[in-house]
Amino acid sequence: MPEKLLYELSVEGRRGVPMPSSDVPAADTLPGSLARTEDAPLPEVSENEAVRHFVRLSTMNHHVDKGFYPLGSCTMKYNPKVNESIVAMKEFADVHPFAPTRMVQGAIRVMVELNEALKEISGFAACSLQPPAGASGELTGLMMMKKYHADRGDSGRYRVIIPDSAHGTNPATIAFAGCEVVEIPSKEDGTLDPEAIRDAVDERLVGLMVTNPNTLGIFESNIRQVADIVHEAGGLMYMDGANLNALLGITTPDALGFDVMHINLHKTFSTPHGGGGPGSGPVCCTEALEPFLPTPIAAKRGDSYLLDWDRPKSIGKMHGFYGNFGMHVRALTYIWSNGKNGLEDVSKLAILNANYVRAMLQDDYELPRADRCLHEVVFSADRQAANGVKALDIAKRLLDFGMHAPTVYFPLIVHEAMMIEPTETESKETLDEFIAAMKQIAKEAIETPERLHEAPTTTPVRRLDEAAAARNPNVRFTKA
């Protein structure tokens, strides 16, 4: 039974809270030409109707508090509730961004401490917490790389190399930054091809952008050789930190030869995302790139904390105020509650969980690249497709088991791709339930393939017509 919109539940004159009439005269602040001539058509419902509406929606929706969420490359780990308790403290929740810095020393200290933690985790010399999302971090990094070259008088660089397994945001960022995308085919095993990169670098190179481990969940073991090739050509190495959850405490992007990266606090550091955001994409970099970081930078001078705006070579501001501060508090809580050893365990368990799923399902689904993986594993539905069952059908059927679908049709270099990232927060029992569901679906693909085209059958809404929604989007309620 579909849930009605609040507008459909609306009854004229109904109120949640009876407001007393105002005992001061209404101010005449707007010129008559700008004032409304009639009331805004807002829904009118009682408080409990509004509460029940949203509670019902939250139970119809799938979320990480409700069930398994193996959406590859998104790191949908559980978001610990202690993060929420800390960020709800009034000293954080009620802070105003215009407050004088002497009144918000604790809040700035949180940013400084998070900077320090991210520097240690990444191995880099400096960090900015300002970018509010991964893609914003990418753009920040790329603008810094361009400014680094321009600052050295090294003009004429406009090309950025990406592998064909790149996240879609990478080419989009490159184009948005006014550079040219150079896409290099991966090797047969799905990793970077140093020889192809050697052929593509020249004096036009800004740098190379890559995710490591890559989008197939495979560690780029040639990364240092690739970094040498890029650096010899005068280019810089950018790491998309989307898959950092596999590296914590094991190695650092700095040690792998990168110059600058973004970190998704909403993936690796357990701040909420997937409708629950907002995100946060801090950028970390080497000493050589530090002058170009966005302003301001949270810093400690002597005994006091301040916001450093005096950064003449900075690319400027990337977001209002200091980024999504609430996410900084949550991420620091997560980092401190795990500690150094705990974070290393996070990555090791994430890798173990993905490999367990890989080993348990490799007889049922095609494993096109590599017999090993890190924190995520990419299967292909090719075997099932021969019987008319596509990755999309398998993804939809999983919803009937009360689990979120994996990422499908990405990375683009795997036909009928299904990208599974269990994360470290799932127990063996949960993984076993998922594996059993996937095995049952593989069996159904052989025995009753036509029924998989009908899936899901137990969800609040059945299979949606995505093509009609894209061709004819209707996102506005019209009163009948």
């Binding site: 999309l392 499908v408 049709y409 683009l412 995505e466 093509a467 894209a470």
Partner: protein, 126 residues
């Protein structure tokens, strides 16, 4: 099994070409539309534009992905299939006839030698 008409020429990027005199019509193959799924949007050149072989002349958006369209041949665009703007699903229903994309006046007929025949394309997709 995807339909591969005998009388057409094909590219590795899954486009077909129908040659009539010095004009050539492009579209995407039945195999390509099956792989893409429901097409929802197209970006095509304008009449009078020049297209160059192997270079992008537009893009095609389906529910699951967006793909570039690579020109099978070089030439000047004579006509664009305007009906696809309102009914992009025609590409899924009838990729070889009503779902054609553009007609060009060929500028280099020797480029035809590089295209595949139906048999070679069948091999390519098997």
């Amino acid at each position: 099994m995807a339909n591969v008409p005998q009388e057409l020429k094909y590219t590795e990027d899954h486009e077909w070409v129908r040659v009539e005199g010095d004009t050539a019509t492009f579209g995407i193959t039945d195999y390509a539309q099956g792989e893409l799924g429901d097409v929802v949007f197209l970006e095509l050149p304008d009449e009078g534009d020049d297209v160059k072989q192997h270079e992008t002349f537009g893009s095609i958006e389906a529910v699951k992905t967006v793909a570039d369209l690579f020109a099978p041949l070089s030439g000047e665009v004579l006509a664009v299939n305007g009906s696809l703007e309102d009914e992009p699903e025609t590409i899924n229903k009838d990729p070889y006839n009503a779902g054609w994309l553009v007609k060009i006046k060929m500028s280099k007929t020797d480029e035809l030698d590089g295209l595949m025949d139906a048999e070679a394309y069948n091999q390519h997709i098997s």
